[in-house]
Each structure stands twice: as structure tokens, then as C-alpha cells.
């Protein structure tokens, strides 16, 4: 759909010819109308561009509404529930209460300072939209605003993509980029309606910052640099991924310095952006002094200092006329600058003033790091290295348009194209390291691919046109430099050139339409599931909805004491606090590894050991997610090894081999005795041995793992079943008080 609009975005020559065609009947009437129409062609082109952009804007929004139409207007997944809860708090209590919010409902008994441990950009954005709508007398519920924030910002991203494309190539590339990014699955996966997460606004902020910075470098204007600093501030307030900006921009500047592209424009742009951006970013409590204290941000500071050295050397060079003297001076200055910088960094790191790189950062540079050192990062599915198939799934044709675009970029190297090339290459590397970072690479891939599409189509159409109207080529010759090259090829006039061009054009349109179809399909099939409500196909092709999560959370809300503490694996923490309104021990904000390990240890211990742990944490209820009845595979048994690993990472009494048989994870009769009697196994399979799940299978047949369970006679001593949802997906157990007499 988006692809089909591309050929119209071909710049002036085509619209001119269109205008000429249309104008020819008018020629008979009067020469004046021809002239006015001739004037109008410029306007027509503008009109066309604006309407295309408008359509893309709307398209980007409505393509993300599948989930609302299929299910209902609801918040998806895990983290968005926390964001929703905080937004609700913000709109109810106001900004200062939000900023100082100490949440005693999560991380019991440690609590969490919400205001100081989140990126408030998303919540504030949604709250502002909400307040604006209220002011305009649209009385919407805050949930609707939250659900639609992501599509709205995706639409805004397309506009930024257009301007960015225009900046690095031309308007045509801009329009193509806008259209590509509007429906690119890599972006849609994180910005469908209901996916109320930081990335929803962060990608917009990211692209805006980059665009403004490129613009600032191009113009050398303070105001653009200032804009870029504010874009950066917004990004910092919205997402931890701002670290990418604060490393990519200095890297880019460094590359420009090395390649001899240093200029006053760059100096102004970078210095202004860095200093102001840094000062602004310090206003976010969660980031605080990291810009001057953390290892990840030191690169930017180093480049900043290097910039001053460059400027100083420039000045010295200007003062000294003797080149030989200058060479010596240069050597001394550079050596001492590097020495001083190195010593400062060394002292800072050794004294602990500069914190070392965080585990997440390490795991980005070295994909195997997390697996060996930080199981809690490695356990998250979106932190896994990306499979090739998901690249294909998320990028489709962009995957091979990307190299073509790189080729065009290198052919017409400028400050702007260097930036987009660096953005594309670095982000693509990170996308290979972590699945979720495909998102960051998506805008770059779309932009570079747009350059490829736009440049190719432009060349091909101009080929076609010049052949048709040989005399006209001369008149349009001066319009663009790219045409001169096509004219050269034309002059050699190969015989099948025109047919070849037509064939290629058709090919491009075919590819683009396939892309559009693929994107729509992926969006509707893969990325529009809220994951809190599950859907499956029944035996007769009918849709079955499993709404067990919400059933369980509402049960908790209605039937447990208000100060009850619920223990579950951390994945469900945000949902329990947001929907169940109950205190949880650990949640998705995995800041305290020990606490999570304690829960992991409880889950992987025998019941009586677990009971002591649960008593020490004042746990009243235990919640497990179990997919054995429905065949839902991302349940707690399949996550169990991670609980063992994380628990074992802090408490060495938990050993992974105890739960494995010959290195294999089993739940059937061949499972290890520790596995068959640990708390998690007992809670998941309690009473499951009596149940027939599938026709023709024995009782206790686990459909998620396709085996008959090994321990069918489970007795619980210290816990009792409190509630099991209709499809057994969520099971809640009550922790009994200690026995009265023993």
C-alpha cells in the first residue's frame, strides 16, 4: 500500500511532464491558463507531497489498530502495565506526587522509589495528551490515551522520517522513507495500539534528535543544535536507549574528524548539543550524574575535549606560519592531551568516581557476556541474539535494499550520508546482538532502503522519459546532477534499455507491494496480540479466547486482603500490582538481583524450605502460570531453569544439574527427583494428575511439553490451592499460617 505511492514521489521532472500532459488540452483555450497551470504544477507537487504524507500519517496510525479491533482497547504485555499504573497515578495525583512517589506495593519489603527509577517521558507525554484532550472537552479515559499513544507517535515518526530522508537525500527519498517506516514490522512490533511502552515515544525522539543534529551539522546553526539538545532531552526522559545517541553522535563526530571533515559547523553543532543535552539530561532523576560519572558516557566527553583540542590546534596553526614548528607542536599537544585524558580516566575509574560499564552495555558489545555472567539479562527473551528469520520477518525486502542504499550513500558521500551510514551499521550490529534492538535499527534501515528505492526509481524513470522525449532532456539537464550520469548511459543507447527499465520498475513495484502485503500480514498475525489475553484456534477453526490472566488478577483484587503479598516470578509483578492491586515481592523492574534470586530459590526448593523463605518475606499468596492444560508454552515450567540459574547465582545451594537428567530438562517420569518435588513443580502440577487434557492420552498429560507428568500424587503441606482459572493458566495458592500445635 505504501509502496504504491512511491513512484509519484519522484521530484520535479515527472510532475512537470504530468503537468505538460494535462496542460496540452488547455493550450487551445489560452496561453494564460497554461501559465497559471504551470505555476500550479509546483503547488500540485506540494499538494501531492502533503497528501501522500497525510495518507502515510493516517496509514501508520490505522495499521496499528488491529489489536484494538481484534480484542479490545487494552494495555498489552508486562511493562506497559507499570507505565499505565504510573500514568494513572500521575493524572490523579499530579506531577510532584508522581515525582516523589514511593511505591510500597512493589518489591516488598524494599519498596521502590518510582520517581527516581523510571523514565518519565512516556507518562508525562500521555498525561499531557490527556490533559489537552480534557481541556478541549474530550472526556476520554486515560486508558484510551495510553493505548493510542504508541500509534500516534508512530505517525509522528513518519513525518520526522520524511524530513530526515529529505535532509540526507531528497524529498523523494523522504516520502519513501516515511512510507516504509509507517508499516515496517520491526517498528510496528513495539508500537501497536496498547503497547504502551517507552519505545513507543522513544523511537520518535531518537529519530528527531538525529534529524536535528544532522541538520545542525549541515547548517552549523545554533538553533538546530539547540533543537537537537531538546530532542535528546526528550529521548533521555523517555528511554534508556538514549545511551545509543550519546555514543553514536560522538562516534560520528570522531569519524568526521578522522576523515578530515572537521568544520566550524560541526564544532558548533556538537558542542552545543553535548553541553546542553548533558545539562538537560541531568534533570532526569534516573539518569542524574551519569553523564559525568558513568563509563558509557565517557566517550562523548572525550570527543568533546578532542574537539576543543582540534579547535585550539586550528588556532595555533593560524598563528604559526611555520609548518615544521606546527608539526612538533601538534605532536606534543596530541600526546599530552591523550595522556591527560588517559590518566583522568584511569584515576576516575580506580577511585570509583567513574562507574564501570554496566552489564547490559557489556552484553551489547560482547553477546556472550550475559549468558556467562548475568542470567537475569540472558533470561529475557527479547535480550536473545537475533535469528536470521526474525531479520527477514521484520525487514522483508529492506534487508537487501539496505546494502543497495549503502552503495548510493557511499556514492554521494556527505556529512549527512556518513551519519546515516554509521547509524545503519552500528544499529544493525546491535540488532544482531539483541532481538529488541531491531527496533533501533529500523529507522536507519528504512531510511537507507528508501534512498535505494528512490534513487533506483528515479534513475529508471528518467531513463524512460529521456528516451521518449529526446529533445526535452536538454532542458531538464540542469536540474540534478544525478541525471547527467543517466544521460551518459543513455547516450550509449543500449537496445533494450527502455524495456529493461520498464521491467525493473515493475519489479520494484512488485517488491514494494509484496512488502506492503507482508507488513500487513505480520502486523495482523504476529504483532497485534496483547499477550495478556491469549487466542487459539479451536478444532473447528473457531477462535478461542483465554482470558485467564485477567480472571486471576481480578480474583486477587476481589478476594484477598488489601495488604496481602503475592509471590510470583518477576514477569508477572507489574500485572499483579496494576490489575490485582496487591503487593508483590519482585516485578519486572529487575533492579535487585538478590531479591529475585530469593524468589527463584523459593520456587526451586522443597516445599518446607520454600515455606521458611516465604514466611520470611511475609508471603500470603503464590501465583504460578501453567500452560499444561492449554498448551501455552511460555509458562513457569518452561521458565523454570532460569529461576534455578538466577537463584543459584546468588545461593549456591541451588545447583542446576540437580534439576536436569543428562543435561536434559524433563518433567515426566524420567525427571530428577529434585525437579519432581520442588515447589514450582508441585504448584504447577497439583491435582493435574487427575485431569485428562487430551483425548486418547493418559491423565496428567502436559500439552505444553507433550509428556505425561512424572509426579501425579502431589500433596501440599504448607500451601493450599486458593484459585485456579478456568483454563488452568494461572494458579494461585494460599500460604497457610504455621500449624497450631507443631
Amino acid at each position: 500500500m505504501g509502496g504504491k505511492q512511491d513512484p509519484t514521489a519522484n521530484g520535479s521532472p515527472k510532475s512537470e511532464s504530468m503537468g505538460a500532459k494535462k496542460a496540452s488540452p488547455d493550450l487551445l483555450n489560452s496561453s494564460f491558463s497554461f501559465k497559471s497551470l504551470k505555476l500550479k504544477t509546483k503547488q500540485q507537487e506540494l499538494l501531492l507531497r502533503v497528501s501522500i504524507l497525510g495518507l502515510v500519517y493516517v496509514l501508520a496510525f490505522i495499521a496499528r489498530l488491529f489489536s484494538v479491533l481484534r480484542y479490545e482497547s487494552m494495555i498489552h504485555e508486562f511493562d506497559p502495565y507499570f507505565n499505565y499504573r504510573t500514568t494513572l497515578y500521575l493524572t490523579e495525583k499530579g506531577f510532584y506526587e508522581f515525582w516523589n512517589w514511593f511505591d510500597s506495593e512493589s518489591w516488598y519489603p524494599l519498596g521502590r522509589i518510582i520517581g527516581g527509577t523510571l523514565y518519565p517521558g512516556l507518562m508525562v507525554t500521555a498525561a499531557l495528551i490527556y490533559w489537552t484532550l480534557r481541556f478541549l472537552r474530550f472526556f476520554v479515559h486515560i486508558r484510551e490515551v495510553c493505548v493510542l499513544t504508541a500509534p500516534f507517535f508512530a505517525s509522528n515518526t513518519t513525518i520526522v522520517a520524511y524530513f530526515f530522508g529529505k535532509e540526507i537525500w531528497d524529498t523523494g527519498a523522504g516520502l519513501v522513507a516515511a512510507a516504509l517506516i509507517a508499516i515496517c514490522p520491526g517498528y510496528i512490533s513495539r508500537s501497536v495500539a496498547g503497547s504502551y511502552d517507552n519505545e513507543a515515544v522513544a523511537i520518535f525522539a531518537l529519530l528527531l534528535t538525529f534529524y536535528l543534529f544532522v541538520k545542525a551539522v549541515k547548517t552549523g546553526s545554533l538553533s538546530w543544535a539547540l533543537g537537537s539538545a531538546f530532542g535528546y532531552f526528550y529521548m533521555v526522559s523517555a528511554w534508556g536507549g538514549y545511551v545509543f545517541i550519546i555514543n553514536l553522535v560522538p562516534l560520528y563526530v570522531l569519524v568526521l574528524l578522522i576523515t578530515g571533515r572537521y568544520s566550524m559547523r560541526l564544532y558548533v553543532a556538537y558542542n552545543c548539543m553535548y553541553i546542553l543535552g548533558m545539562l538537560l539530561a541531568m534533570q532526569i532523576r534516573f539518569v542524574g550524574f551519569q553523564h559525568v560519572q558513568s563509563g558509557e558516557h565517557m566517550g562523548a566527553m572525550g570527543v568533546f575535549l578532542l574537539m576543543q583540542v582540534f579547535y585550539f590546534l586550528d588556532w595555533v596553526k593560524y598563528q604559526l606560519n611555520d609548518t615544521k614548528l606546527f608539526q612538533t607542536f601538534l605532536r606534543i599537544t596530541v600526546t599530552s592531551a591523550i595522556l591527560v585524558g588517559g590518566i583522568a580516566l584511569g584515576v576516575g575509574t580506580a577511585s570509583g568516581y567513574i562507574s564501570p560499564w554496566t552489564g547490559r552495555f557489556y552484553s551489547l558489545l560482547d553477546p556472550t557476556y550475559a549468558k556467562d555472567h548475568i542470567p537475569i539479562i540472558a533470561s529475557v527473551s527479547e535480550h536473545q541474539p537475533t535469528a536470521w528469520s526474525s531479520f527477514m520477518f521484520d525487514y522483508h525486502i529492506l534487508l537487501f535494499l539496505f546494502p543497495a542504499g549503502l552503495y548510493f550513500c557511499f556514492k554521494r558521500l556527505s556529512d549527512a550520508t556518513i551519519f546515516i551510514v554509521m547509524y545503519g551499521l552500528t544499529s544493525l550490529y546491535f540488532a544482531g546482538v539483541m532481538v529488541r534492538l531491531i527496533l533501533v535499527a529500523t529507522p536507519a534501515v528504512c531510511l537507507i532502503s528508501a534512498i535505494a528505492v528512490s534513487a533506483t526509481v528515479k534513475n529508471l524513470t528518467s531513463l524512460l522519459r529521456t528516451k521518449q522525449k529526446v529533445p526535452q532532456t536538454g532542458s531538464t539537464k540542469g536540474v540534478g546532477s544525478s541525471k547527467s550520469s543517466s544521460k551518459v548511459t543513455l547516450d550509449q543507447s543500449q537496445p533494450f534499455q527502455k524495456n529493461g527499465a520498464i521491467a525493473l520498475l515493475v519489479g520494484v513495484f512488485y517488491l514494494l507491494s509484496r512488502y506492503a502485503i507482508h507488513c500487513t500480514w505480520v502486523t495482523s498475525e504476529a504483532y497485534s496480540s496483547p499477550s495478556i489475553v491469549l487466542a487459539a484456534r479451536g478444532a473447528h477453526g473457531n477462535r478461542i479466547i483465554f482470558d485467564d490472566y485477567r480472571e486471576a488478577y481480578y480474583w486477587l483484587r476481589q478476594n484477598t486482603p488489601t495488604d496481602a503479598k503475592v509471590m510470583s516470578w518477576w514477569d508477572y509483578g507489574y500485572q499483579i500490582t496494576a490489575m490485582g492491586n496487591r503487593t508483590v515481592i519482585v516485578d519486572n523492574n529487575t533492579w535487585n538481583n538478590t531479591h529475585i534470586a530469593t524468589v527463584g530459590r523459593a520456587m526451586s526448593s522443597y516445599e518446607d524450605e520454600a515455606y521458611d523463605i516465604m514466611r520470611s518475606l511475609d508471603v500470603n499468596y503464590v501465583l504460578v502460570v501453567f500452560g499444561g492444560v492449554t498448551g501455552y508454552s511460555s509458562d513457569d515450567i518452561n521458565k523454570f531453569l532460569w529461576m534455578v540459574r538466577i537463584g543459584g547465582g546468588v545461593y549456591p545451594v541451588i545447583k542446576e544439574p540437580d534439576y536436569l537428567v543428562n543435561g536434559e530438562f524433563r518433567v515426566d517420569k524420567g525427571a530428577s527427583p529434585k525437579m519432581l518435588n520442588c515447589l514450582m513443580y508441585k504448584l504447577c502440577y497439583y491435582r493435574f494428575g487427575e485431569l485428562v487434557t487430551e483425548y486418547g492420552k493418559p491423565t496428567g498429560y502436559d500439552r505444553a511439553r507433550g509428556v505425561e507428568i512424572g509426579n501425579k500424587d502431589i500433596k501440599l503441606e504448607h500451601l493450599e490451592e486458593a484459585y485456579t482459572t478456568s483454563n488452568w493458566i494461572v494458579r494461585i495458592y494460599r500460604v497457610k499460617p504455621p500449624t497450631n500445635r507443631l
Binding site: N100, Y108, D563, T583, P737, N740, R741
Partner: protein, 432 residues
């Protein structure tokens, strides 16, 4: 019905950690007591014990253990507040009574005196086992002591009593307590049960009529003669290995411990059983706590949340049941914890002698969800386990100091730089 009542009990237990779990909170002393006998002649042979109970106002209901109309409950309501089982040989109770219903009776917060004897039945052993007491498996075994006896070597003159005013009263029991019966040991994992009357180190448990073929399993001070158990809901249980201990004969008998010059006209039994029955029926050692009260210094209302380094005052009122009325409890060992996974503050409360315990302290410099905890476990007294949750927040953004004296050089640097820049630009722009 049972499940329901149990879950109700569990929920209320969960909601009210205050655990004054008797029949009425205001009057915890038992009133209606069911006495189960395996022989009605016990009524006369143990009449002194029963009459002391009656004289203290108890309403005793004597029933034969096999009585087919036995019932503890009617329409879900308990008919009795206490139960005395003097039926060691009964194999099966009549009516709806069994060991499970007796365990439930105790779990509902009611009290029990259980006396076994030689050749105690499995039913009685089972009930005792529920309370953490293990009678000697050999049904013909008795406690034998060749050093602390009175006449017969199976009539033990025991004087190793638990030192607790709450359980055995303030007046010391001078004379040894006479005991003839079966030994029992305590479940080592159960810390609710304790020995009140222990055997001497030279005692052992064996069949006195047969020759000892193998070393006895129970020996020395591991043998308990009389034990008490106070459940978590403060139901109290007395388990005795001897029914004769309560009998008129031993109550009235004179005692002279073998090898001891002291001869007592009267054994310590009467005082022992009277005092023990006072304890078990909550006439003594029963505490009641009011709610935990806390507020910032200088305020009276309880805040919903504290800030770190707040000064707070804490108090709790604790009363003791004297048998007739609530009296202020006076002790110097009551402590409060300010607890989050481990106690951050542990303070001994001072008392005003009118039942009010209070202290004041500063909230530690740690935020989180804390609890005020009063865990009072004193031998013989009801266990007080009180807690109240209170979150502690860090400073708000505007509660920090605006200007810090140590940072004045930095402020100075800032303003001089600004001024210098202004002057510099002025000079630079207008100098030429």
C-alpha cells in the same frame, strides 16, 4: 462444616495477629469443662482435684468416655471451653468424638488436660502425639527410678519442676510430686511443648515386672512426667503420664524421698495440680495487647507513611488476666523491633506500670516497608505476636537542603564565572 470453620479460623488468624484466641476476649478463663472418664469411680477417687475446680467456679460435666451421646459441638458451636480426659484405657470414644475432633477443639483455642497411664490406649497416645508428646511405645513400661522414689521404685518423688511463676504460681512447691505412670518424651522439633515435671537423671522407662533384656529407650532427664503445650493460638494443653498424680490418694499422701532426711506431711501434688489447672484454664499468664500505637514526636495521629530519620513514638498497652479482671502487666523485657527482613531498631520498652509500654526512636536512614513487631514469648505466658506494617519513604525533592555550606566554593565559582564572562564579552565587544 469443619473445613469452613477451619478456614474461618485461618482467615481470622491471618487477619488478627493479636491472637487472644479464647472464648471471649474479655473473659478468657474457661467456664464449662467436659470431663471424660473411663470409669465413674474416678469421680470419687479424684474428688479433691475436681472439687478445687468446682470451687473456682468451673462447671464440670462428667461423662463416660464411651457415652454414645458425646459431642463437643452442637450446631457448629462448641459446648465446652475445656476438656479433661481421664480415660487412659479408652480405645474409642462414644458419639462423634475422636482424636481429630479433639485436635480441632484445641485448634479452636480451647484447653485440654490429658492424662495417660500405664497401658494407655492408642487413642490417647494419638491425641498426645498430636500435641508433640510421645509416650513410651512399650505399653507395659513405667517410669522406674532407683534413687528418687517413695517406697516403691515406680512411685517417683519428682522435684524437678519448671521454674515459671506463670505456670506453677508464685509459691514454691516444697514437697516432691508423687508420680506413678508412663514416661513420655517431647518431639524435639516442636518448640511449643515443654516439660513441667521432669524425671531425675537416674530414671528410666521399662516394664517393672520383667527383666531388662536391652537398655531402655527412654532414660534420665529426657523423660518427661508432665508436659504442657501452648499452641500458637494460645490454647493450653497439659499432658500427664500418670492419672494417679491427680488422685486423692497421692494428693493426701505424705512423702519422703528415698535417702532424703526431709519428710513432708503432704505431697506437692495438690499444689501442683491446682496451680497447673489454673494455668491451663487461663486463670494465670494470660496477656492481652491493645493495638500498636505510633506517631511522630509532637503529633497524635498515626501517619500513613514515615520519612527516613523521622522521630517517632511507639506504645502498646498490655494487660494481664488475673482470673477475675484485667490488670496492667508489668515487665521490663518487652521489646519492639522496627523490622524489614531484619530488625533495624530493637528497643526495650519502658512501662508506666499501668500497662502502657512505650518508647521513642528515630526511623533509620533506610526506606522500605517496615513493621513494628512485638514478639513476646515468655515462659508460661501467652505468646504475643503483634505487627503493624508501615512504609518509610525517602526525602521528597523539596525536603533536601537548598544550599549546603560545604558547596559554597562551587557556588562562588559559578557566579564568578558568570560575572567574568559578562565582563569579558563587554570588553571584547566594545574595546576597539
Amino acid at each position: 462444616m469443619m473445613n469452613l470453620s477451619r478456614s474461618v479460623a485461618l482467615i481470622s488468624l491471618f487477619l488478627l495477629p493479636l491472637l487472644t484466641f479464647s472464648f471471649s476476649v474479655d473473659n478468657p478463663t474457661d467456664r464449662r469443662v467436659l470431663v471424660l472418664l473411663d470409669d465413674l469411680s474416678l469421680k470419687s477417687s479424684h474428688s479433691i482435684f475436681f472439687s478445687t475446680l468446682k470451687s473456682r467456679g468451673f462447671d464440670l460435666d462428667f461423662k463416660l468416655a464411651e457415652d454414645s451421646k458425646l459431642a463437643l459441638q452442637r450446631y457448629g458451636q462448641y459446648l465446652y471451653d475445656g476438656l479433661i480426659i481421664f480415660a487412659p484405657s479408652t480405645e474409642r470414644f462414644g458419639g462423634s468424638l475422636d482424636s481429630k475432633s479433639i485436635a480441632e477443639f484445641v485448634d479452636s483455642g480451647r484447653d485440654l488436660i490429658l492424662s495417660a497411664d500405664t497401658s494407655a490406649s492408642d487413642l490417647i497416645r494419638g491425641i498426645a502425639l498430636e500435641c508433640g508428646v510421645d509416650f513410651d511405645e512399650d505399653s507395659s513400661a513405667m517410669v522406674i527410678d532407683h534413687s528418687s522414689f517413695d517406697g516403691d521404685h515406680t512411685l517417683i518423688a519428682a522435684d524437678d519442676l519448671v521454674k515459671s511463676h506463670a505456670i506453677l504460681g508464685k509459691t514454691k512447691i516444697e514437697a516432691p510430686v508423687l508420680f506413678r505412670g508412663v514416661a513420655h518424651s517431647l518431639n524435639p522439633t516442636n518448640n511449643l511443648v515443654l516439660k513441667v515435671l521432669s524425671a531425675s537423671p537416674s530414671a528410666y522407662s521399662a516394664n517393672p515386672s520383667s527383666k531388662l533384656s536391652s537398655p531402655p529407650q527412654l532414660t534420665g532427664s529426657a523423660i518427661s512426667l508432665v508436659s504442657v503445650m501452648q499452641a500458637r493460638n494460645n490454647a493450653r494443653v497439659v499432658i500427664s503420664g500418670s492419672l494417679q498424680l491427680f488422685s486423692d490418694r497421692l494428693l493426701r499422701s505424705s512423702v519422703q524421698k528415698a535417702g532424703s532426711p526431709n519428710k513432708y506431711e503432704k505431697s506437692g501434688n495438690e499444689q501442683f495440680v491446682t496451680e497447673l489447672s489454673k494455668w491451663v484454664f487461663h486463670e494465670r499468664g494470660h496477656l492481652k495487647a491493645g493495638s500498636l500505637v505510633h506517631h511522630r514526636v509532637g503529633e497524635t495521629d498515626e501517619p500513613a507513611i514515615y520519612r527516613i530519620k523521622d522521630d517517632l513514638e511507639f506504645s502498646v498497652e498490655i494487660l494481664e488476666w488475673s482470673g477475675k479482671s484485667w490488670e496492667p502487666y508489668v515487665a521490663d523485657d518487652m521489646q519492639v523491633q522496627f523490622y524489614m527482613m531484619s530488625p533495624y531498631v530493637l528497643k526495650t520498652l519502658s512501662t508506666d506500670k499501668k500497662g502502657l509500654f512505650h518508647t521513642s526512636f528515630k526511623v533509620p536512614d533506610v526506606y522500605g516497608v517496615f513493621q513494628f513487631k512485638v514478639e513476646y514469648e515468655k515462659l508460661g505466658y501467652t505468646t504475643l505476636s503483634l505487627s503493624k506494617q508501615i512504609p518509610v519513604r525517602p526525602y521528597r525533592h523539596n525536603e533536601y537542603e537548598r544550599f549546603i555550606p560545604t558547596a559554597y566554593p562551587y557556588y562562588g565559582a559559578c557566579f564568578t564565572t558568570m560575572a567574568g564572562f559578562f565582563v569579558f564579552s563587554f570588553v571584547y565587544l566594545y574595546h576597539k
